[in-house]
Amino acid sequence: MSFRRLTLATALAGVLAAPLVQAKDTGYIFVSSEKDNAVTVLDGKSYDVVKVIKTGKRARDMHFDAGHTRLYVVASDSGRVDVIDVAKLEVVDRIPVGEDPEMFALSADAGTLYVSSEEDSALTVVDAASKKIVRQIKVGGEPEGVLLTPDGKTAYVTSEVANMVSVVDVASGQSQAKIVVGNRPRRFALTPDGKELWVSNELGGSVSIVDTATHKVVATVKFEPKGFRADDVTPVGLTMSRDGKTVWVALGRANHVAAVDVAARKVSDYVLVGKRAWSVALDRSEARLFVANGLSDDVSVIDTATHKALRAIKTGRVPHTVAIDD
């Protein structure tokens, strides 16, 4: 029996034997695929495909609940978020979230979804239990990245068209501030102390660092990977290490990820990955960085200690987001 089958069999056996026992640390790597309407599940060690889970149309952003029992997946063209049971590897629930959702944040209790709705130029707040839209907050054209602060009080949302970040007070639903950042802002990372918000600017080719107290851009990080021009640098995904020392930024068409020293606000290294490096995710030990490459239909695995690309894993068409259950 191949390792792949064994894994699947083990998983199935677990489900059959004790359906109420929650899966924990399966090591599975989940990759959403925009063109396959599916999430591919990979084994965390062998990277073999464990299962392809059919979802709604155009699977994109994904988040686990706190206990990693469920994985929430946006299906943009179906206007909903599908909920995958991590133990069963099946879609067990569907939450309608309005037209053209793209990215989202999940509250700590998984009771509320904060969804960027391209069609409505709004942040849509959805109650997961009742599956009702609670409110919509206007945040400018083509909203994309959503970041909820760990205290759950503030949501940051980018508008790709307005070149702005909206700061939304979650309790009142009011936009407290709008911050002009670089061109076509996409996604966020927050320092562990909550004082600096890092915003990727896809067309600006940079990352804006926003002081969350004053709502001012205090610095801009530029990227110059060897052999690429400024125009090729289109940063989208970024993620911060838990110690707040390093930010990993996917540079899009420049086919690299950059490691940025947070304190120095300087690039410390570039690592070559696949075509149009887009989303990034660290595993729990932060030993490996996973990079979804949208135009080469694969995921690069980077050793964060040596900054070497370990391998490229074939995935579905146009991989969007990587989520790791470990």
Binding site: S159, E160, V161, N163, M164, N183, L203, R229, A230, R253
Partner: protein, 387 residues
């Protein structure tokens, strides 16, 4: 003047006293033959599918959130002259309403005249509808910008693509209009630049007259030579449309039909283009064509400059708009800006067909010392523009 300042879109509610106003003008001609109803119905490739004002309106709408947040009131003021003689008065009307940036959608001769007459009057004209190279060359003006592509840019895009496919032998058919000649000349320059061989250049005429069969019959026109593609210079569009699939050799038609270089193609699926297409379709009830995109990006550029220049002084906005630092988001993946030497917007060009895009130029592998977008059209050293 039929419809002078009839439409004044005040999209934003009253703002605090600090609020600045940005009035963007839009000027066109009532009897412009390009917008003849029966012509529009045919939706010729590479030609406008309606007044590009529709694109400007979408841009104002999508810019309103950012403008409002920064205390800027956006207005679009339109004026339409009955004929070319009325353009001066129509423009005066826009200036009286405070418009300092005016989108102009005019045939090339009328635009050249208007631009020459308005130099030094504190207005910046943005050409959204005329592709003539002369407007960027001998007739260029320091206050005239172009978001529409020049014939040279379109020809270079096609030239790059043909070379990249190794379709080097081209049979050229050229129509009787002066604009056809201009287009042919631009393509011949590109052919030379990229090493394409024009195996023959033959005149065509839209005619069923048996006495001039050699000019009107696509079979006769495409016989007797070996070629990889048939290039047709047809600014009217009807002949080129009907030439497809009727050539003697089974070869693609390119140029004015078939594979066409244009600055927008609604079939493009990347760089946020689908979102823009959706907004445009909802607003204008048709697909977005290149002219619509030119008007849309003109407004986007003026708004971007106005938002980034904090003091808002007209001259400072213009300096920023024309300077190399600006990043205009054209939803084509590249950072767009205006060329200092002739006021032309540097931008990717699509090689499109019916409902899709074969490639985006600059085609991979065509390089330039500073900006690959400047491989399309007149580069600094080729430019004949002297401000």
């Amino acid at each position: 003047m039929k419809r002078t300042l009839l439409l004044s879109l005040a999209l934003l509610a009253a703002l605090p006293a600090m609020a600045r106003e940005l009035n963007i003008g839009y000027l066109d001609l009532a009897d412009d033959p390009r917008y003849d109803a029966t012509r529009l119905e045919r939706r010729f490739q590479g030609q406008p599918w309606g007044r590009p004002l529709a694109g400007a309106e979408v841009a104002v709408e999508e810019s309103s959130f950012a403008a409002e947040a920064l205390g800027l009131t956006l207005k679009l003021e339109t004026a339409e002259a009955d004929d070319a003689d009325g353009l001066g008065a129509a423009l005066d009307g826009l200036l009286a309403h405070g418009a300092r940036f005016v989108l102009v959608d005019l045939p090339a001769p009328a635009l050249a005249q208007l631009a020459a007459a308005t130099r030094g009057r504190g207005v910046t004209l943005i050409n959204v509808g005329a592709s003539a190279d002369a407007l960027r060359g001998a007739q260029c003006q320091p206050h005239l910008l172009h978001t529409a592509a020049s014939e040279s840019m379109l020809a270079d895009a096609l030239g790059q693509y043909l070379v990249s496919r190794k379709w080097r032998k081209v049979l050229a058919l050229v129509g009787p209009l002066p604009a056809d000649r201009e287009r042919m000349d631009a393509f011949a320059r590109s052919a030379k630049r990229y090493g394409l061989k024009i195996v023959a250049e033959r005149p065509f005429k839209l005619s069923n007259d048996p006495r001039e069969r050699d000019l009107g019959n696509i079979g006769l026109l495409t016989a007797g030579e070996d070629y990889d593609a048939v290039y047709i210079a047809d600014s009217d569009g009807e002949f080129a449309r009907d030439a497809q699939f009727r050539t003697v050799l089974p070869r693609p038609v390119v140029g004015s039909a078939g594979l066409v270089a244009d600055i927008w193609q609604w079939g493009w699926e990347r760089n946020g283009a689908p979102q823009l297409n959706n907004r445009f379709r909802k607003s204008a009830k048709r697909e977005m064509s290149g002219a619509d995109w030119a008007a849309w990006v003109a407004v986007k550029g003026v708004v971007e400059a106005s938002l980034r220049v904090a003091d808002g002084d007209d001259a400072a906005v213009l300096r920023y708009l024309r300077g190399g630092e600006i990043i205009i988001d054209g939803f084509k993946g590249a950072r767009l800006s205006f060329r200092a030497w002739d006021g032309q917007l540097r931008q990717p060009v699509f090689l499109g067909y019916g409902n899709g895009v074969a490639a985006s130029a600059p085609v991979d592998g065509f390089l330039h010392p500073t900006n690959t977008l400047d491989t399309l059209g007149a580069d600094e050293r080729d430019s004949t523009c002297k401000f």
